[in-house]
Amino acid sequence: MLMDVRFKRDGTALIAYIEGEIDHHTSRILRERIDSKFIVEPVKNLIMDLSRVTFMDSAGIGFILGRMKKVSSIGGEMSIRNPRPEIMKMLKMSHIDSLIKLDT
């Protein structure tokens, strides 16, 4: 398994603990799993914990922006937690860190 995701609810936020590699292949599966969980939980905010993500290319940027749009459309907020340095490089390059709250 290249990628896995586990969930936890914290008040009005859904925390998605993503593990493994985020690319075009895995982001399609990840998107389905997060979107379907987000819709059934009584939450409006989404936190992505990236501490166990070991690889991410630009497909991950598209995936993060896509989730941000969904969460914003219902008045919620999205944030990213604990990216590793190599993931941080991709986040900074895409300037996504100016759009999304980043907790390091």
Binding site: E21, D23, S94
Partner: protein
């Protein structure tokens, strides 16, 4: 300059091969003992090039992608080629945030990532003929 080593592999344009290609390229380059950061950059650039071939070149239909890695004393050259649709306007495709597939949540950052993470990037492409990406990366800090 004489190559120190070289390899060539071909695989189907399946999205599951994006991970295969980046792992193979990084394993091959690892014999030159570069830094972890350099290997991470190579992995990312290869992933972008192969993803482009899968999504745009072959439009997620089956085709063959070839990847060649040529290792020199101080740098590596990586060539990724498909025989798919080709790019109509290369300059436009290189623009940050440009994508022909916003429906797929594509960020339009593929070529920008390859340019940023590698030291050089050349794109040869023609509509109906496919696309050849040639990238190089220095393996020692100067």
């Amino acid at each position: 300059m004489q190559p120190v080593n070289r390899m060539k592999t071909e695989f189907l344009s399946k999205s599951s091969n994006e991970a295969f290609a980046r792992v193979v390229a990084a394993s091959f380059v690892a014999q030159a003992d570069p830094s972890i950061d350099i290997l991470a950059d190579i992995r990312t650039a290869v992933s972008e090039a192969v993803t482009n071939a899968v999504i745009h070149g072959y439009e997620e239909k089956e085709g063959i992608i070839t990847m060649e890695c040529i290792l020199y004393q101080d740098h590596v050259e990586i060539i990724i080629e498909d025989h798919g649709k080709g790019i109509e306007d290369i300059e436009q495709a290189r623009m940050p945030l440009f994508t022909t597939r916003p429906d797929l949540e594509r960020s339009g950052m593929g070529f920008t990532v390859m340019e940023t993470f590698m030291d050089s990037l050349e794109i040869e492409s023609a509509p109906g003929k496919g696309t050849k990406i040639r990238m190089t990366k220095q393996l020692v800090y100067r």
